[in-house]
């Protein structure tokens, strides 16, 4: 089965694509970015295979040094494109960035599942779901969240983008390194530990945003 990645990709992408016309604008954007994430994963899986061969199949080196770089760059491209060309609204960017990450993790998990179908378990599913799913989501959100700040200041843009990508790459590589070491459990905990403060931070910024909007609404309200 040479084209297994493509078979899985088509199975998922067709269902998602057919769902798009039925959805309202904001939800359609999220699903569209999930599709972009799935496509990014397909592209990266091909690229990583080429890189693995060129690094003499040194799986450890490639997964801790090369794949975090390629994966984070490819996932960041649609987010950067959206921020530069369409909108740099923070809340929208966070939602779309997370969708790219989730789409990416979805195809990646399925591909690993079908390649190791006899070795998987419920524990494996929990580890992949919480670990890989969150890592991809959190890394792309970090880029999306940061880009909403630096996009507004031209002088910060290039250096800031590179710095954000560096952060996401290191975080991803640290996760890959941990899950392959004796500290496997720390690797699984890492994305969960990061995800909870991220959610709290977003809830807090949403709440402060609502507070700022309320007096304005009152002023604009003719009643």
């Amino acid at each position: 089965m040479d084209n297994l990645s493509y078979i899985v990709f088509i199975c998922i992408i067709v269902s998602f694509a057919l769902m798009l016309p039925l959805m309202e604008k904001k939800a359609r954007g999220v699903v569209a970015f999930m599709i972009v994430g799935i496509f990014s994963c397909l592209f990266v899986s091909e690229l990583n295979n080429v890189l693995l061969r060129s690094f003499h199949n040194d799986m450890y080196y490639v997964t801790t040094t090369i794949t975090p770089v390629t994966e984070e760059i490819v996932k960041a491209i649609p987010v950067l494109y959206y921020a530069i060309v369409i909108s740099d609204d923070r809340r929208t960017l966070i939602g779309y960035s997370y969708a790219v990450g989730v789409g990416f993790a979805l195809l990646e998990n399925i591909l690993i599942l079908v390649e190791n179908i006899y070795d998987v378990s419920i524990f494996w599913a929990l580890v992949r779901g919480f670990g890989s799913g969150l890592v991809h989501g959190v890394c792309t959100v970090a880029v999306g969240y940061g880009i909403s700040y630096i996009k507004k200041r031209r002088k910060l843009f290039w250096c800031g983008t590179f710095a954000l990508l560096s952060t996401a790459i290191i975080y991803h590589a640290t996760y890959n390194l941990l899950v392959q070491s004796d500290l496997q459990y720390a690797g699984i905990l890492l994305p969960i530990i990061t995800y909870i403060p991220l959610i709290l931070l977003l809830k807090k910024s949403d709440a402060s945003g609502d507070k700022r909007e309320t007096p304005q609404k009152a002023e604009n309200d003719p009643a």
């Binding site: 801790t64 910060l156 800031g160 290191i170």
Partner: protein, 218 residues
């Protein structure tokens, strides 16, 4: 020994970053300060990766590894904060400040001097390319750190209050270059001193910055 030094660096950066988050992210703070805290966070992640690699593998890959991006990312954050937020406030590009712009070039000159020395010791290899990129980022950041230490504060009084921070960041930049240089010259005592000083710098960044911000806002 190497493991413990890297662990100490990671812990110092983590404490510095945690304190920065605690002090500057609870209330609304200037983006300049937040970027510096992000820079320390980036350094922490890079050091964490290197430490974990040391503990799990026993050694750090000599050429390109992701930990390098921690140093690069942190200095890019420092550079962006100075260039993007402060540079236009303190220097309007006029002839009055030309002298300071020229003097500030001494910092990147020292960085490149250290890199050339490293290059002469190791010759051309993967490490020299990686360290070259690192040096380039450190050099551009160090230029602004030195400039903001020496430039007179004409209008706002902001840059005067951040002089100690910029001086500390400049010292940290030279320490990072010294770290690169010491990978080529085996001087264990110097290595320990450089790492200890880096730990102190990482711990001191936020308190020093906090002192500066207090002066700036009062």
């Amino acid at each position: 020994m190497e493991k413990h030094l890297f662990l100490a660096l990671t812990i110092s950066a983590a404490v510095g970053f945690g304190y920065g988050l605690f002090r500057f992210f609870r209330k609304k703070s200037a983006l300049y300060i937040k970027m510096i805290v992000y820079g320390i966070g980036c350094a922490m992640l890079g050091r964490l990766f290197e430490t974990l690699q040391l503990f799990s593998n026993g050694s750090i890959h000599s050429g390109f590894h992701v930990g390098v991006l921690g140093v690069v990312g942190s200095f890019l954050f420092f550079y962006s904060s100075n260039y993007g937020q402060m540079a236009s406030l303190v220097d309007d590009g006029s002839k009055t400040f030309r002298k300071y712009r020229l003097i500030a070039l001494a910092a990147p000159a020292v960085v490149f001097g250290m890199y050339i020395f490293y290059f002469c010791l190791t010759g051309f290899c993967e490490s020299t390319v990686v360290c070259g990129i690192e040096s380039l980022v450190i050099a551009q950041s160090s230029y602004f750190h030195l400039k903001h230490v020496i430039i007179p504060d004409v209008d706002y009084g902001v840059i005067r209050s951040l002089r100690t921070y910029n001086l500390l960041a400049l010292v940290y930049a030279f320490l990072c270059m010294a770290e690169i240089l010491l990978t080529a010259i085996r001087l264990p005592a110097c290595t320990v001193i450089v790492y200890v000083l880096m730990c102190i710098a990482l711990l001191a960044f936020v308190p020093v910055l906090e002192g500066g911000v207090k002066k700036w806002t009062t």
